[in-house]
């Protein structure tokens, strides 16, 4: 499977820089990102709020706010370069049809004045070209696919008659109705309860298999990442600082920011003791960032971290990290105490398999 993956790139982001004009100033939200997405995989993008994860996927959908623009770089999909798209007409070829999105809050992403059936059917008519009875039947099939019972009655109901979890299922049905190749899930379960969250994640996994989707998850919950992702990209201050297979990031993470994210998980903390926390605040993106953006908050920072931006160092065939700690001249640094036993446990799983 891994061999196949590397061959079929479905989306390729190259040297992307996205800026926003804000009150006469310019903010750099995405700072020179390159990322490939392979067919059939599910990639998770993690990072704290303001790290640029949502901006990145919005640029793929052409949904950047009016004051945002792509300053440099390419987004290659099929024969198109999405970074060069100018008009809404261009985007209509891609949006929904090729790349669809499931948003965070199912309370606000549905039209309260239309029955859910009509909202799904709209997409079926527009993107699959079906009409009348056929479109109706396809809609019922989609409703069944996302795990809704009693579909004929449910078709005629309005969003307020559904619970949060059920609404998120409707949103997913709408996204899938467009027959997309890529499905972007922006914090799909943040607004939901744990038990419902587990169900929705399972549903997304099943649909991915059934429809052969490639998925991008945006989340800050590492538990969700562990459940759904094949590959993880960690973002900090508009940059991808580490990318690799899920187990490589979780159990062999190399960037101190990845360490900090993992060790601040309450699951790893010992009761009655302080939880590791990240000191300070993320950098101001209005200013130019010198060196490694995480350096001022990084207890392991080297002098060079404040001067020069680290390139990607290769850890394995699939695992890369942007930290000078991986340079051959760098001093040997052990990850924080709390993480070491976690890493060890993970490696036992990896070798036991």
């Amino acid at each position: 499977m891994e061999g196949n993956n590397t061959n079929s790139r479905i989306l390729s982001i190259q040297n992307l820089i996205i800026k926003f004009r804000l009150r006469g100033q310019v903010l750099t939200a995405i700072r020179d990102i390159s990322l490939d997405l392979y067919k059939g995989e599910s990639l998770a993008i993690v990072g704290e709020s303001g790290s640029g994860k949502s901006v990145l996927v919005k640029s793929i959908m052409g949904l950047l706010d009016k004051n945002g623009y792509i300053n440099q770089g390419n987004i290659l999909y099929k024969e198109y370069n999405l970074a060069k798209f100018k008009s809404e007409k261009d985007w209509l070829k891609i949006r929904g049809r090729e790349i669809a999105m499931v948003t965070q809050d199912p309370m606000t992403s549905l039209n309260p004045l239309k029955t859910v059936g009509k909202q799904i059917e709209e997409c079926v008519v527009l993107h699959q070209g079906l009409k009348g009875k056929k479109a109706y039947e396809q809609t019922l099939k989609l409703l069944t696919d996302v795990g809704i019972h009693n579909v004929e009655k449910r078709y005629k109901q309005y969003p307020h008659e559904f619970s949060g979890g059920m609404r998120q299922r409707i949103v997913i049905a709408i996204a899938v109705a467009c027959n997309p190749k890529i499905l972007i899930c922006d914090e799909p379960t943040t607004a939901l309860d744990v038990t419902i969250q587990a169900q929705i994640l399972q549903l997304l996994k099943n649909l991915q298999e059934k429809y052969g989707l490639t998925t991008i998850y945006i989340t800050h919950d590492l538990g969700v990442v562990a459940k759904v992702a094949d590959r993880v990209a960690v973002m900090y201050a508009g940059d991808i600082i580490e990318v690799g297979k899920t187990h490589e990031i979780f159990f062999n993470g190399k960037h101190p920011y990845t360490w900090a994210l993992l060790s601040s998980l309450p699951q790893l903390g010992a009761k009655g003791e302080e939880l590791d926390s990240i000191k300070g605040t993320p950098p101001n993106l209005f200013n130019e960032i010198k060196g490694d953006a995480f350096a001022p908050r990084n207890p392991y920072a080297l002098n060079v971290d404040f001067v020069e931006r680290p390139p990607f160092f290769q850890v394995s065939e699939t695992h890369f990290a942007k930290t000078w700690l991986l340079h051959s001249d760098a001093p040997k640094v052990e990850p924080p105490q709390a993480l070491q036993s976690f890493f060890e446990e993970g490696r036992r799983y990896a070798y036991g398999k």
Partner: protein, 313 residues
């Protein structure tokens, strides 16, 4: 456990909203005790009534039936003026969303001292400012921040202001209603650490309401699981997580994602089906299965649960 001082007791609490046809029983016969100095967790999904219990203790929601005792004295219903004043100070609350719970038009100074002003709990203006300054320092903010407005702060800082506002009243008991759910991952750890530090320092007792079980496991000493207005299981937190007995607790714990891709992807999730209970013929009661471990069960289930707890599944 038994010789510990009981700070708060909730006895057969019922809360009902609405009247007649629209009557809705949000809390059904809930009883628990919170000991001095501990952190008591209350978990459940949205709509299960966990916040309603917190609000009933704060006396925001009226109690339909039952009793709430603080230090052995009743706090619901009609209470004397002095006692009312005392519990208003001794019981404080920290809210979920720091973006919504601070008055946008008031300066931090006023936000923190509002409680002091209402209860006239200061000698003169200097004393008041001093108290505000100390509260800010305690939560790790600078005293200069007192002259700023809430919008000038980040989410984590705002939550600290919310905590300072509770602390300035010198409470003994704090209800924290999802205090970190609205915060970013990197800030959660900071606020959790702050809450534990303050607990040790000021000898506080917490009622910690949350739906995130991984946080509950980390911070609480004892936990009650609530489902549709009823407590279905109550035990010491570690016991509850390592040896859950009630099927709903089991389903809830199995649904918590773990940060381990191997375990997580191999895991099967238990689904709770309330129709598995035969409660019409054989109504349940809240029984002690082993020491300090309570489960809602009927006679038939008690036998089954007892054997489960003794084998340790």
């Amino acid at each position: 456990m038994a010789n510990k001082e009981r700070l708060l007791e909730v006895k057969n609490l019922n809360v009902t909203f609405g009247k007649g046809k629209n009557k809705f029983q949000a809390i059904r016969d809930v009883s628990f005790e919170i000991y001095k100095g501990e952190t008591f967790g209350l978990v459940g999904e949205s709509g299960s009534g966990k916040t309603t219990i917190g609000r009933a203790i704060m006396r925001i929601n009226e109690v339909t039936d039952g009793e709430i005792l603080f230090k052995g004295k009743r706090i619901n219903g009609n209470v004397s003026k002095d006692w009312d004043k005392e519990i208003t100070q001794k019981i404080q609350m920290i809210f979920q969303d720091p973006m919504a719970s601070l008055n946008e038009r008031a300066k931090v100074d006023y936000i923190i001292s509002e409680g002091l002003i209402n209860t006239k709990k200061y000698k003169n203006n200097e004393d008041r400012l001093n108290k505000v300054k100390n509260a800010l320092l305690e939560v790790g903010l600078l005293p200069e921040f007192a002259s700023r407005f809430p919008h000038e702060f980040s989410g984590g800082q705002r939550q600290r202001i919310g905590i300072a506002r509770a602390l300035v009243m010198e409470p003994e008991f704090i209800i924290a209603d999802e205090p970190i759910s609205a915060l970013d991952v990197s800030i959660r750890a900071q606020v959790l650490n702050l809450l534990s530090k303050l607990q040790k320092q000021n000898d506080l007792t917490y009622l910690f309401i949350a739906h995130d079980l991984s946080i509950v496991r980390f911070i609480t000493d004892r936990t009650a699981v609530i489902y549709k207005g009823e407590i279905v299981e109550l035990a010491e937190t570690e016991k509850l997580f390592s040896n859950p007995i009630h099927p709903y607790t089991r389903a809830l714990i199995s649904a918590v994602p773990e940060p381990n891709p191997y375990k997580e992807q191999a895991k099967t999730i238990e689904i709770y089906d309330p129709s598995q209970h035969n409660y019409n013929l054989n109504p349940p009661s809240f029984v002690e299965i082993e020491e300090g471990h309570f489960v809602l069960a009927n006679n038939e289930e008690i036998v089954h649960y007892r054997s489960m707890s003794s084998i340790g599944v």
